[in-house]
Symmetry: C2
Subunit: 444 residues, 2 copies
């Protein structure tokens, strides 16, 4: 390569190279020995939840149809793979279209250890190629949504704004905003997420705007506030902690009047400050002015502020890094070849070979009690007094994405219902076991 | 939105919306009150290193020219921002081109708390818009490169293969592969990184390929190995832990002969297994067959295997998640307005206002001893017997990217030299203080 200019990352129309090389070398070897066209079934699942988590949230399913549609080997992609593949394999890729079946858990569904959240069936050749792309999407988005859902639980109905883009890869940031909204966040700072996914946007100003109103003589916070109110209206949120918070509130109310929409505190002991700020605002007559807090918030900090007069939380780093679990750790495993269940030696403790179906059982109250996996070619197990619900829905048939997949709004609503269905311990933020057990029906 | 189809993520030709909304609302308010055209200086830095790290590695600089070139507001972008911006601001964005100056630390440079790794100067309007995109790129890539460099140190010259794509967002994965290569990794599994960044690719097969060779009668590992060797040659690496490792090695040597390139172990106690596998291979005459290990390796596990007969490491999750520090936590702060230094109340303990220059001092032996920051309008401080080196190089002048920026290969070589320049404690993997102090010259 000559200069960094040569390293242009985009725009990228094909997703086919978002793939590990070994999928293509396996393809070549399988084409050569005649096994490439065996009928295979792959499943994508997590062997365990991130340390101490009680549930996971499925996310990313809504991004799969687009990623799959763009999984095409054009000339630029073929030029790369032909460096290490034989001509037969390269030509095979030229015409590649996934033509198999995909089932998946809905976005917004809960998952637990072993939940087969994606089932991909077709020839070995076509299924093996999707491994990395499917895992990248689902591991990332599910990790973020799983953390975000805990924050939503902790916020207990208060407004949550996702503002972590700056702490994540620029494209990952867009998917983070999407996953957070799916989990119940109210808005995002990320404008590409507004465009691509239709999520409400949010954001008003940073410390830089206040600092901008510095002259050789002095800083001038009130001038900054007046400018912001003039441009954005009194409903805006003013950032009051650039210099002195008490003075900041005086300046804010002087600039906007008592109808000021909100103030934001981005540093310090947020609980103590929120109370002081509330008292001061109320004393000035700005009783309807909302208090927004931000600054290194995670689900624990959000919960700790429950008793304080906080109206909204801005969450950044902890959200986009999955609050300690930046990947869901899911794997994509071959489970059946020409109707024969297969499994790696050490996998039998986590799963069972063969294509599976999954149901979740509930009490009449709606509280979930167990997830049951069973072989797809066997009848559903007897569920006694419990109500079963099928977890896998068709996503693609014969390579064609099915119509009427859930929308992002559907998925957001589903997760809200699912969170209510957890046993009460399942919503605890402390480390613990999965909220419900996973049972392998028919396994000894 | 109607269906997930509507949520297409790409291809994306503009990077302009990879931006937080507040940058645009600040722009509107600043245009309205006449402050938008003030001459400003922003700096991007980390207040601290991730917990216990002794150095950070600057990465992402090579991706900035492309990202900046595509930072354009076309009709699709204007349609989004005009929803919340006034007509004057929207029209201003239509013609937007960054026209200021950028200096930055070279990729592959070490950084420490306070290091001003990016300096952006121009009008408030043009500088404030770049905040999120610059932070996203540098926070992500630097976090990954910083973790990767510790793995390179731990591997002590042995081959390192990046294979974490599946555990990261699909586009983040490409940047992770780049950051790992910059840090000294030898190859990546990610084919898009091969294409976009010219990094060597690697990868041969997964457990699925062995499992594919299952019939109704029995598994047939040797058939899988023979197929792989037939397609990829005896120099390939066979994955030997699908069933029984001892049998796997017998099958591998039976299929490939004693000239077999390598075997990979992906599970179990890798140290114990490596020794057993080495003994068995040697006993079979395959003395030149390399041993590759993978499976949840981080820098500590890599170091712990130093005494074992391991020839190469495959690293995934820990690499793409920054080994516990998935973001570098850098911030982008306004430090000077119309020649006047500015700073937020609570920032004086971390930095000093005003545009800064940075030099790093070395002993005659080449060992670095200190980083010194000083105001750009003051002379460089006296460095006594130490050799100073300028850390900031020009990246853009008048909005134009300068010629001959370092290539990825240049940066990789620079980091290799920089790692040698650290005081010996600086290379320890254990938690500790930054390897060298940062001094603010002229600060009382």
């Amino acid at each position: 390569m000559a200069t960094p200019h040569a390293e242009s990352a985009g725009p990228r129309s094909s997703t086919a190279l978002l793939t590990d090389q070994y999928e293509l070398t396996m393809l070549e070897a399988a084409i050569a020995d005649g096994t490439a066209h065996r009928s295979c079934s792959f499943e994508l699942f997590a062997r365990r939840l991130p340390d101490g988590r009680r549930f996971g949230v499925v996310a990313g399913m809504g991004r799969i149809p687009d990623a799959l549609a763009r999984f095409r080997f054009g000339e630029p992609e073929l030029a790369i793979v032909s460096r290490f593949l034989d001509a037969t394999t390269t030509e095979w890729l030229r015409d590649f279209r996934f033509s198999g079946d995909i089932d998946g858990y809905r976005e917004g569904e809960l998952y637990f250890p072993g939940s087969p959240i994606l089932s991909v069936r077709g020839t070995f050749a076509e299924c093996v190629l999707l491994e990395t792309l499917m895992l990248s999407i689902l591991n990332h988005d599910s990790a973020i949504a799983s953390a975000a859902a805990r924050m939503v639980v902790a916020a207990d109905g208060r407004r949550l704004i996702e503002m972590g883009s700056r702490r994540a890869h620029e494209e990952s940031a867009v998917a983070c905003a999407r996953a957070a909204y799916l989990a119940g966040f109210d808005a995002t700072s990320n404008l590409e997420a507004v465009r691509t996914h239709g999520i409400p946007g949010a954001g008003t100003s940073a410390h830089a705007f206040t600092l901008l109103h510095t002259t050789e003589v002095a800083s001038n916070e009130e001038a900054a506030f007046r400018a912001q109110v003039a441009a954005l209206g009194v409903g805006t949120t003013l950032l009051i902690d650039t210099y002195d918070i008490t003075q900041g509130i005086e300046n804010a109310v002087a600039a906007a009047g008592t109808g000021l929409g909100g103030v934001r505190i981005d540093s310090g002991d947020l609980g103590v400050l929120a109370r002081q700020v509330r008292n001061q605002l109320d004393g000035l007559g700005a009783t309807g002015t909302r208090i927004v807090v931000s600054g290194d918030l995670d689900e624990y900090a959000i919960a700790a502020l429950r008793a304080e007069p906080v109206d909204a939380y801005g969450v950044g780093t902890a959200l986009v890094s999955g609050s300690g679990a930046p990947t869901a750790g899911m794997v994509y495993k071959l489970v059946e070849v020409d109707g024969v269940p297969v499994e790696k030696r050490s996998d039998h403790k986590y799963s069972l070979g063969g294509t599976k179906r999954a149901i979740r059982l509930s009490r009449p109250s709606g509280t979930i009690v167990e997830e049951v996996l069973y072989h797809a070619n066997e009848p559903a197990p007897d569920t006694g007094d419990f109500e079963p619900r099928d977890l896998l829905i068709p996503m693609a048939r014969g390579g064609k994405i099915v119509d009427d997949l859930p929308t992002l709004e559907d998925s957001r609503a589903l997760l809200a219902r699912n969170l209510v269905s957890l046993p009460w311990e399942g919503l605890k933020l402390s480390h613990g076991d999965p909220a419900i057990p996973t049972r392998y029906a028919g396994k000894g």
